[in-house]
């Protein structure tokens, strides 16, 4: 096992995560988006698992397991069920056209490379690439939350953002376990809260589209 090979695989997996993030940007159907989200978590699980292997940090396998079991299987299933049960429109309405969003996504990847690579010049190469790629995933997740109106796709954007943060946390070698477990748990909590909110929204309105929610802008005349 040469260092070069370990690095190449880590790099490839982290790069794939960025690729899947970009792929998420052009989904215009909810079910397809949820599938890509599951794939995103799957790639994350592989990337984290590989980090656990090359860092010889067995506790990271837990993080990988959570990514695999919870984020790649349970959450997509729950989201799909929610879309079905609530009868949400299957098409996603975007604020900005898909072409422009894709260009912005590419620009964000370039930006994060330009920002992170010079800064982390002294860090070890695996962590360095991981952090730069993780930042692109975070930024694309943000972009997705900004350009989507539909609540479910905003949740998907948020989860992909969290995946990016997770990748960064595992890339930072020896980062204490406390944080990783708590990140996983907080996603669980966060998701439950989101779920509650989605159902409440359903209870009160006929749409989960945030544009409809925005009808109330705070100040009724």
């Amino acid at each position: 096992m040469t260092h070069g090979f370990a690095f190449d695989v880590a790099h490839m997996l982290a790069g794939s995560l960025v690729l899947v993030s970009i792929a998420m940007l052009y989904q215009d159907r909810l079910y397809a988006l949820i599938n890509v989200l599951a794939l995103h978590a799957l790639v994350l699980a592989a990337a984290v698992g590989w980090q656990a292997y090359i860092q010889q940090a067995p506790h990271l396998y837990i993080t990988a397991g959570i990514a695999l079991g919870f984020k790649a299987i349970v959450i997509p299933m729950a989201l799909r069920r929610m879309v079905f049960r609530l009868g949400i429109h299957r098409e996603i309405e975007t604020v900005v056209s898909i072409g422009l969003t894709m260009l912005a996504g590419i620009a964000l990847v370039a930006l994060s490379m330009m920002v992170m690579l010079p800064v982390t010049a002294h860090a070890d190469p695996v962590a360095r690439e991981d952090i730069a790629l993780a930042l692109s995933v975070v930024l694309i997740g943000l972009l997705m939350m900004v350009t989507r109106r539909n609540a479910v796709s905003q949740v998907a954007g948020f989860l992909s953002l969290e995946n990016g943060v997770n990748l960064a946390a595992t890339g930072a070698q020896g980062m204490p376990l406390v944080v990783e477990i708590s990140v996983a748990f907080s996603i669980l909590i966060a998701f439950i809260v989101i779920g509650i909110f989605l159902f409440r929204i359903r209870e009160r309105f006929d749409t989960v589209d945030l544009q409809a929610l925005d009808a109330f802008r705070g100040e009724r005349q």
Binding site: V115, M116, P118, V119, T120, H122, A123, A127, I131, A134, L135, V138, L142, M145, A151, Q154, F158, L161, E162, G164, V165, A168, A169, A172, Q173, G174, M175, P176, V178, V179, S182, V183, S186, I189, A190, V193, I194, I196, F197, R200, I201, R204, F205, L210, L213, D214, F216, G218, E219, R220, Q221
Partner: protein
Amino acid sequence: MQARAPPPPNPPPQGEGENLTESLVLLVPLLAAAVLSLVSDYRRSARINVAASFLSFLAALLLLADRPAAGQFFAVDDLNIVFILLNTFVGFTTSAFSASYVSHELETGRLAPSYLRFYHAMYQLMLFGMNLALIANNIGLMWVAVELATLTTVVMVGIYRTHEAIEAAWKYFILGSVGIALALFGTILVYLAARPVVGEGIDAMVWSVLITRARDFDPALLNIAFIFLLLGYGTKVGLAPMHAWLPDAHAEGPTPISAVLSGLLLNVALYALLRFKMLLAANPDAIAPGPLMIALGLISLIFAAFMLYRRRDIKRMFAYSSIEHMGITVFAFGMAGPLGNFAGLLQMTMHSLTKSAIFFSVGHVAQVKGTQRIAEMGGLTVTHPVLGWGLIAGVAAIAGLPPFGVFTSEFLVISSTFAREPLLAIMLVFGLLVAFGALFLRVASIAFGEPRGPTGPVTASYVPMFAHLALVLIAGIWLPGPLVAWFQHVAALLG
């Protein structure tokens, strides 16, 4: 602003310093939350809530007397004890206000008894989260605690389950989560910067270790980390332009929650920011965090001051006033120096006390009038003199009129700024005057003139409101010597 001399040699803690007094501030609210989730009688649960909050305050006072050594997870130092005391005190007075507030909400049917059980348990869980964030010596633990406090307040903001409340909670949740995710990314970058110096493992996240070694950290990494932390925790502080959640969350949640959001949660996020600012200040090659904080603070102040004019909802108006005051506080901490930090600390304390007092009175006003719309309120000093004059006193205090404590702190901010950056001071004064005008314009129409809206009797508890106002008044007239010395010491720590 300036590279600071290294802190006094502080032996890096290795062992576990956890002891009983330290954990009491955490255990009391946690146990209370567990107990409250089982109590279904709302009268009893409100009483337990008050008692538990009072016990937490006592536990915080105990920390003054017996300060435990710093451990890997918890530490009490001169900086965070100010925040912990303030947090538990306002938590206690707000729980007393909350008891009278929720009984009225039950009578009018806005809240069901089953929701109250949930509400009280969440209240204690939120206090637990905030205390944990303040007492944490570990930047990862601090992050988890801030997230916990955020999630509990999200649920409470949405508790009325109206269209508006759900939108407010959703907005708060999404913006808060994004902010918190960015803060975590910043935290990871700090760890990356610390790892080559401190070594792998838990020590590279222990704040008291980080601060002693910070000058050897990679400055470029620290800079980027601080940008993320400023954006992330800054969202929670309510700094413009990341403030969008704040007015909605304040206006649509129950008023006790508005009081703790403004009085406490914003402070907790600010505290996190200050900790990282100290790290940057300890590194001579890192960017100065001051100008960034000054810019964000001024933008928030001036933006919020203008937004105050167009408010029609009374709670929303005071939410904008909170953005304004957090702007001033962040500005003061950005100016730094012994005087700037002192002014910032005082401003933060005074704002917490005053703003929660205002929300106490606003809560009762809104209950009497059955609405939060300013246009439907009027002549409050005639129909409800105590409430009306209490509100006027609160607004006079928050607007920075002497003899209240906010005047002292704002005067200190302005005078210390004038001495160093006259141009910034002029902008500061401009923002303050604009806000002053807006606040009095609105409050005059609420307090004086023809009585409008229902004029029924009010069953309010005035004690929390006037206790806060009395403290602010005393601080304005005479700051006790030990308190001044203490704040000066903390200001020196902040660099």
